[in-house]
Amino acid sequence: MNIQDILLMRHELFLIFAALVVLVFEIATDDSQKSIITPVALVLFAIHTVVGFLPLTEGSIFGGSFHTTNLISLMKDILNVGVLIILIQATKWINMSANKVKISEFYILTFTTLAGMFFMISSGDFLMFYLGLETATIPIAALAAFDRYKNKSAEAGIKLILSSTLSSGILLYGISMIYGTTGSVYYSEVARGLTSADSLQVLAMVFFFAGMAFKISLVPFHLWTADVYEGAPVSVTSYLSVISKGAAVFIFTIVLFTVFKVVAPLWQDVVYVIAIATMTIGNLFALRQTNMKRFLAFSSIAQAGFILLGIISGTSLGMASVVYYVMVYIFSNLGAFGVVSIISAHTGKEDMTEYNGLYKTNPKLSLALMLALFSLAGIPPVAGFFGKFFLFTAAAQKGYYILVLISLLNTIISLYYYLMPVKAMFINKNEEPIAFFKSDIASKVAILMCMAGMVVVGLSSTFFESILKYCFGI
């Protein structure tokens, strides 16, 4: 191993370095100077994001445990951009007096959990996979309980850690069964040893599936989602809903396409049923929500169901549409959460009925939220339309027309509830709408980045084409 090999891990190394720098600042400053940590952390992460885009050589180290390819690097870059937007959005909240004591903890925990996810995505064997998963899970549960003075936040943290632990346990059990039946944990060797005739291996796959489905909030492993999203601080909710879910989707797709490709018909059937269940239940429950955070939580459950459409196809177009859709979903969801968090930070109001008549007083915020909701619903010309269309194309490529029909009907249902906030803001009348306020520069930058992303990523074909170049199918 030489320096070239170590540099293959440059995403993770830089992240850990950044976390350590923040730690040093934490120790070196006293309470009054703590606010310097925020710009330091932001700059470090911005550098990290930019450095991530530099071209990378492919390779693997640690005997195959950690490998990186262009595709994996691309996935990490997408997640980086998402986290950058989240961090920019979080600056106002983190600088509030109640949180000032713990500024550095927020950044250290975020960097650590992201590093864990990067290890998970880059894994070459199940052991590194599990290591990354656990490194990612524990800090995120601490982040969910970040608001010390709110009961709901503590509840969110407990629910998250307990259910994460259970699902990780089941996942580990599955991994141990795989080791037991195939004699190895390396992906390539496991793939050779799998057959569909061995029922223990099938059980192992089911357990693996269950563990990952928890992370992606698929039905019936979604019950933690709404309460945790509602209780956690908005920045953490954004992180959970896009980054955590996105990373889990990435590694899920890669493992299914590489390790389990022999038994593809088995997991395709499972994905079929779960996709329908997830979309339908997510949509039906979202119809009834009035709290904006719960509303976005259920909508993101339904979105995960759509992502399964790309996975079920098993083609390179399928994988490309999944990666592309996660990118689009990051911009759209962060845009929506951004507006919700700004309104929540200024006025504390999170209920949809309180958004009535928002267009009259805060037109730009209303337009931003409308654009984000349209993107989530899949309406042109924003990127959500292209993302959904490519997912449908991937599923139709393998002849899953009935599934596409059901997803289309679900899109109609989702359009109804995505129009509910639009209706509230633009059409409903209100005696006392939320008064006009100026948002701070950081929140504006974050929302503008999201809106730019949503518009550009769809209309310009370079993003999808460059993703498709690196993807592979079964």
């Binding site: 309406i379 009907l409 899109t411 359009l415 109804y416 059409i427 074909s461 498709l468």
Partner: protein
């Protein structure tokens, strides 16, 4: 270009500060659009003489290479006719909305954005792009009806949006089905309409996807029983929106039916056409009878639109040249007529604040200009020779009757009875509303049409007159472009 101008107009509106600026920018923008469409018309005639290709003025830009999606545009005679229709109706709509008081900038922005979607739809030759513009045209409807509408506007807006998006959901399925079957002998899959029309798509795939496509477009074209969004939607919408929607958007459905569903899947169209023929016949008659019972002016016109748009699809399904020529003529003629009607109704409602015909009477004495135009519009609707309605309906029925077999003849006869029913409801309304004694003395102080309203109405009226008296230029243009479609369909007959 046709898409660029409305988009630029929209951006221009966003820069204006007040009502006056908004109106001027919109009027200029849409005026330019109208001039461009006239220009296109003359250039088309010139080009047609030397170039016999199917689609003229084609331009193609590669968009998503891996899926072979291009931004391809091009026109033939039918598309040129539809573009003309749209530009006339849009500018009439802009003038009809001259006095919008609430949030005028946003209103004009969404209206023109909608029109850009419509223009894009008519000029696209690539299925993906066509579908994209279709969806762009649907969504502003929700906001336009929900914010500026009247009556149960939220309910109507949501119902309209959900049903139209339901249609588009079925469309995606059909489009993907066509795409994946577009190269049955190997070669590259494509979304391009012209290329797909040269390929023979396997019959099983055709049978599966044709209903989805036809129903998907039929929802927009008010095919029974998917028309239920139409009466409430039109009644609750503001004037210009109703004009644009009934006049142009419903024609998107008819256009899509023949350009996509029938052109690309001809065998399935032959096999399953009779089912939809029955449905359209029901639309025609049901719409007409529905209009007789209504008290509300807008509902009368909405049901009348269902009936006339049903006639369009009815004629398309007859699949011979005359009938299809009549169908396109009916699209244009009815588009202009219904826009005229909705404009008039909007102006009357703005003055009397009621749409109930029993509460109004003797308007001819009070607002003569509007009343006379209303009578002329009514005559056009029931097919008086000299106006465009006659040309269209005559051609449709002659073409439909050319079929020898019992089934088609029966359908034609049933549909023809709607002429009588149309006369009943038109004349009834004219009688109650315009003639007779003045019901409400408050109305005696109503003012007649203002200059912008006159402009709007006269624009439409002149177009109706031109088509009624001298339809041959239009008819020839359409017939030339119909040849490839009819050839494809009749090879199999």
């Amino acid at each position: 270009m046709f898409v660029v101008v409305p988009v630029l107009t929209t951006l221009g509106i966003l820069c204006t500060k007040d009502l006056k600026g908004t109106r001027i920018v919109s009027a200029i923008g849409m005026g330019i659009q109208l001039l461009m469409s006239f220009n296109l018309l003359f250039r088309y005639f010139a080009e047609r003489k030397v170039n016999a290709a199917e689609m003229l003025f084609q331009k193609s830009y590669m968009w998503y290479e891996s899926l072979n999606i291009h931004y391809t545009v091009g026109v033939d005679g039918i598309a040129v006719a539809m573009i003309l229709l749209t530009s006339v109706v849009v500018i009439a709509g802009v003038f009809a909305s001259w006095s919008t008081k609430e949030l005028p900038r946003e209103f004009f922005t969404f209206l023109i954005l909608l029109s850009s979607g419509v223009f894009g739809f008519f000029i696209s030759l690539d299925l993906f792009t066509m579908f994209l513009f279709y969806e762009v045209a649907v969504i502003p409807m929700y906001l336009l009806i929900g914010i500026w509408g009247t009556g149960p506007k939220e309910y109507s807006a949501m119902k309209l949006t959900l049903m139209l998006m339901g249609g588009s959901a079925l469309l995606i399925l059909g489009l993907l089905g066509i795409y994946f079957n577009s190269a049955p002998d190997g070669g590259q899959l494509t979304f391009n309409i012209i290329e797909i029309s040269k390929v023979h798509i396997p019959i099983e795939a055709q049978r599966f996807f044709f209903p989805f496509l036809f129903v998907g477009f039929g929802v927009l074209g008010a095919l029974f029983p998917f028309h239920t969004w139409s009466p409430d939607g039109h009644a609750s919408a503001p004037t210009a929106v109703s004009m644009l929607h009934a006049g142009v958007l419903m024609k998107l459905g008819g256009y899509g039916c023949f350009r996509v569903a029938m052109f690309l899947l001809p065998e399935a169209a032959q096999e399953m056409g009779w089912i939809f023929l029955v449905l359209t016949t029901i639309s025609v008659v049901y719409g007409a009878f529905g209009a007789i019972w209504q008290k509300d002016l807008k509902y009368i016109n909405a049901y009348s639109s269902v009936s006339h748009c049903g006639m369009v699809i009815f004629a398309l399904l007859m699949m011979n040249k005359t009938a299809m020529d009549g169908a396109i003529l009916q699209m244009i003629s009815h588009g202009l007529m219904t826009a005229l009607f909705f404009a008039l109704i909007g102006m009357i409602y703005g003055r009397t604040h009621t749409r109930n015909i029993y509460e109004m009477g003797g308007l001819m004495k009070i607002i003569p200009f509007l009343s006379v135009i209303y009578v002329i519009a009514g005559m056009a609707s029931l097919g008086l020779p000299g106006l465009s309605g006659f040309v269209a309906e005559m051609t449709i029925f002659v073409g439909s009757f050319q079929h020898q077999d019992v089934f088609h003849r029966v359908c034609t006869i049933v549909a023809t009875t709607s002429i009588v029913v149309t006369a009943v409801y038109i004349l009834r309304v004219v009688g109650i509303l315009l003639l007779g004694p003045i019901k409400n003395s408050h109305f005696e102080e109503l003012k007649d049409a203002s200059w912008w309203e006159k402009t709007s109405l006269l624009t439409l009226l002149i177009a109706i007159l031109i088509i009624g008296i001298a339809p041959f230029w239009l008819s020839n243009m359409i017939q030339d472009s119909l040849t490839p479609i009819v050839t494809r369909l009749s090879i199999l007959q």
